[in-house]
């Protein structure tokens, strides 16, 4: 097949942040026990104003950012979302709304369309309403999501459905994919739970078994064939859980490489989890994004490979997986510059094996996991 893509890039120089994730708020009507938001999210009170967000969008676009995700928390909680979408679209962003669908109704679907919103991604928790209710901490959310997914397709949007997979829903994968097909999804992200934030807190109760995972991969493969035979264009993206891998993921394509997150209070991060690291991140209220991206100590800290330790430092694969994930290294070893313990060459890989054993011995139901809400978050807030 001929390649129509342009692969030329500047030699070794830091490129532009092509992706901007705007976490508009940490407020959310759901309480998903796998949420990747920080445990102490309730400590964040001062959300950026509409004018401050517009300034962030303007600066990021001038730097070359082109894909924009409105996320959270639940971004629909912000009543200025339509204003921000309109401004983003005027600036030339491709605008993605990453939502639970709570807070959506037909009027808002059309208002967002009129504002220029390009795409809506809706999260589903399960195909079974009881499992969905237990995981999201809401008995009403599931039916609402299904209704809104249909309305989104009727309004003509491209729609991606995102399903976070874990031991309590992964065995339903066949009916989950069937549901997504029925809802008219253009693509489905079958995202094995990444174990950060609240998911890390609930890790032993979320991690599936190897057998569950293998069955899920086989189901996905079977569905891909089935969809292809029907000529149905619904892409299935299966995100493997790195606790069952022997090499780490190239997290975010490398630290501060193409991705920039702005948190609800203006903290600028190289990914939405990095806030947990023991370092100070600059704030968009105080410094221009251009300076933060190219010149701040935080954004330069893990660029390139000078920071790497053994076994990464002398490893032939260090540019392929960039040493894995800094947050995972820190959470598991206490050292953010360590090799991601997912790698079986890491001296800390036994921590991953121990986590798998711990999960195998955990018999909690989905209802027994810690829900992500402001009350639970207070426990983690520093005075």
């Amino acid at each position: 097949m001929t390649d129509h893509t342009d692969t030329a890039t500047a030699n070794g120089a830091t490129g532009a942040p092509l992706w901007l994730l705007a976490e508009l708020t940490y407020r959310c009507p759901l309480q998903c026990s796998y949420c990747s938001n920080p445990l102490d999210f309730a400590a964040v009170k001062q959300e950026l104003t509409t004018a401050e967000w517009i300034e962030v969008l303007t600066q990021a676009r001038a730097m070359g950012a082109v894909q924009l995700g409105f996320s959270g928390g639940e971004p629909l909680v912000r009543q200025d979302l339509e204003t921000l979408v309109a401004e983003a679209r005027r600036l030339g962003f491709y605008t993605n709304l990453i939502t639970s669908a709570l807070g959506l109704d037909e009027a808002r679907i059309h208002a967002l369309r009129d504002a220029g919103l390009d795409h809506i991604q809706i999260s589903l928790q399960a195909s079974d309403p009881d499992v969905a209710a237990a995981v999201a901490g809401s008995t009403k959310a599931h039916a609402k999501k299904l209704a809104m997914a249909r309305a989104v397709k009727e309004a003509g949007y491209p729609m991606v459905l995102n399903v976070v997979l874990h031991r309590h829903n992964i065995d339903q994968l066949d009916t989950i994919i069937a549901l997504c097909d029925d809802l008219g999804a253009d693509a489905v992200e079958l995202a094995n739970c990444q174990l950060y934030g609240w998911a890390h807190l609930n890790r032993a109760g979320l991690l599936p078994s190897q057998a569950q995972l293998e069955a899920a991969e086989a189901t996905t493969q079977r569905w891909r064939q089935h969809l292809a035979e029907r000529g149905r264009d619904m892409r299935l993206l299966f995100v493997v859980p790195d606790y069952y891998a022997d090499r780490p993921k190239a997290c975010m394509g490398g630290w501060a490489s193409i991705f920039m997150t702005v948190a609800p209070d203006g903290a600028v991060l190289p990914c939405h989890s990095a806030r947990m690291l023991p370092m100070d991140f600059p704030n968009a209220r105080e410094r221009p994004l251009q300076e933060i991206w190219y010149a701040s100590a935080a954004f330069n800290r893990y660029r390139g490979d000078d920071w790497m330790q053994e076994p990464c430092r002398s490893c032939d694969e260090r540019h392929k997986d960039v040493g894995g994930c800094r947050c995972q290294a820190y959470m598991l070893t206490g050292d953010p510059a360590a090799t991601d313990p997912v790698c079986d060459l890491s001296p800390d890989h036994h921590l991953i094996e121990a986590a798998r054993r711990e999960a195998a011995d955990d018999s909690r139901s989905a209802q027994a996991l810690t829900l992500r809400n402001a009350r639970e978050s207070q426990v983690f807030c520093r005075a």
Binding site: T2, H4, G64, V66
Partner: protein, 95 residues
């Protein structure tokens, strides 16, 4: 693979996808939900001609006018091959 596409066919970008010139990257990109294809010059020039009205023959004429130095038949060959491939990849559709 037979690269020939019907010359009377009218192609358009997949619904919800967008072709855009990116000044910062100095190239055309194809934007879609949570993703981007960085296009080379010829792919950008061909997709830039799709307006939902022009058929393949018209695209070729317009590109020939735009690039008169191209050897005879080269543009037509490129356009047919590209459109077949772009359709295969789900970038474009036709009625």
């Amino acid at each position: 693979m037979n690269p020939n596409t019907d010359s009377s066919r009218v192609y358009y970008l997949r619904r919800g996808w967008r072709l855009q010139w990116e000044e910062a990257q100095q190239r055309h990109v194809l934007l879609y939900p949570e993703g981007m294809v960085k296009l080379n010059d010829s792919a950008g020039a061909i997709l830039g001609q799709l307006d939902g009205q022009r058929d393949v023959a018209t695209l070729i004429e317009r590109l020939q006018a735009q690039f008169p130095e191209a050897p005879d038949g080269a543009i037509a060959e490129d356009v047919h091959a590209f459109l077949a491939d772009a359709q295969q990849q789900g970038w474009i559709q036709h009625d």
